[in-house]
């Protein structure tokens, strides 16, 4: 079983958390990036991340060196686009399923030849999405566990966390990151 990536979308359809366990794409322009100045992204308002594997949308290249800044920014914008595409797909499929299977029906997963997407939606319209390899069985309870044991414990019960997680504020805390990392590593 391989987990490729994980996304959380809030009820305002915004991607508030994304994480990828894939190795970054080997870009052909990596040789030219050594000449670029360490400019970094323009939105450097967030603190550096503890884990460099996180490809969270606006903050990916905040603490990295100049040599790595160019590929990670392109990778982060690609991840950003992927998150939007994933949300669109999941939203359309969910509405389709509700129309066909009734209001109480819930979209669980879909599979293509290359990957499988698992979906879990809470009553408050928080949507958790996970991409895995095709051989994986249903991850619905895993997503449910992430919601109960990580989201509720470390984000909802965090008194410093805002109610609305605009731009992922309050989600990317150390405990949540660590817990998620351990949980997923334990699965793999």
């Amino acid at each position: 079983m391989v987990v490729y990536s994980f996304y959380i979308f809030d009820r305002h359809t915004e991607c508030i958390y994304s994480k990828s366990w894939l190795s970054p794409a080997p870009t052909s322009s990596s040789s030219t990036t050594t000449t670029t100045t360490p400019s970094g992204p323009t939105s450097d308002t967030h603190p550096p991340l503890p884990s460099s594997t996180t490809t969270a949308a606006p903050t990916a290249a905040a603490g990295t060196t100049g040599r790595r800044s160019a590929p990670t920014t392109s990778a982060s914008s690609a991840a950003d686009n992927d998150a939007k595409l994933i949300f669109g797909t999941v939203f359309s499929l969910r509405n389709m399923v509700r129309k066909l299977g009734g209001e109480d029906d819930a979209f669980v997963s879909y599979r293509t030849a290359h990957y499988k997407l698992h979906y879990y939606e809470t009553a408050s319209n928080l949507r958790l999405v996970m991409l895995t390899d095709t051989a994986t069985l249903s991850m619905r309870n895993v997503l449910h566990q992430i919601y109960i044991n990580l989201w509720v414990e470390y984000v909802v019960k965090n008194p410093l966390s805002p109610v609305e997680h605009k731009g992922g504020a309050g989600v990317r805390n150390e405990l949540f990151e660590l817990g998620l990392e351990q949980f997923i590593r334990g699965l793999m």
Binding site: T89, S92, L100, S109, Y110, A113, Y115, L117
Partner: protein, 185 residues
């Protein structure tokens, strides 16, 4: 020796043409909501778009940047080397340029709490959606038979116009009796 009976209920079949238009829909069994034809047309169009997006979302696509993934490459090179053991002429790189990349594949199976949808897209872009119940049964075989019937009774019908709604009596009858046989098993 007891044979395990695999129960399978086929709820409906939908055929979408390569432009995303609904060309056939038929309900075989109660289980899905009644959806008006207008809504079904919208659904077909939506699914057509979603199918294209799901093919693009492949998280491993950067590993297949040149069109040939690591798994494919090893398999093709091994089959080629076994096929022509004596010849020294073909260089591996030369063959990779000839190796055709896998066609991108979109959504194949969609699972929900109440039903399961199997999607089969032909190489020409026609999509067959088979709605069944959630038990994992041999839907591939059923899909294959439906496709055979489509080829036999729709495509070979001289009066059928391509990409237009399917109105073929033979197809309706054969499909009806085949699915009834499955649902009553």
């Amino acid at each position: 020796m007891s044979v395990v009976r695999i129960r399978l209920t086929v709820f409906a079949l939908i055929i979408i043409n390569k432009a995303g238009g609904l060309i056939y829909n038929r309900t075989f069994h109660e289980g899905l909501n009644k959806v008006s034809t207008n809504d079904l047309l919208v659904l077909a169009g939506t699914f057509h778009g979603v199918h294209a997006i799901t093919a693009r979302l492949n998280p491993l696509k950067h590993l297949q940047g040149s069109g040939v993934g690591p798994g494919n490459r090893s398999s093709t090179s091994s089959t080629i080397s076994t096929a022509v053991p004596g010849s020294t002429q073909p260089a591996p790189q030369h063959q990779q340029t000839h190796a055709r990349p896998e066609p991108p594949s979109g959504l194949e199976v969609l699972e929900t709490e109440n039903f399961r949808m199997q999607c089969f897209a032909t190489l020409t872009g026609t999509k067959f959606l088979l709605f069944t119940d959630t038990t994992q049964a041999n839907v591939d075989l059923t899909m294959r038979r439906v496709y055979d019937m489509y080829a036999d009774y729709v495509m070979k019908n001289p009066f059928y116009q391509l990409e237009m709604p399917v109105r073929c009596d033979m197809f309706d009858r054969k499909l009806g009796s085949y699915i009834r046989e499955i649902n009553n098993r």
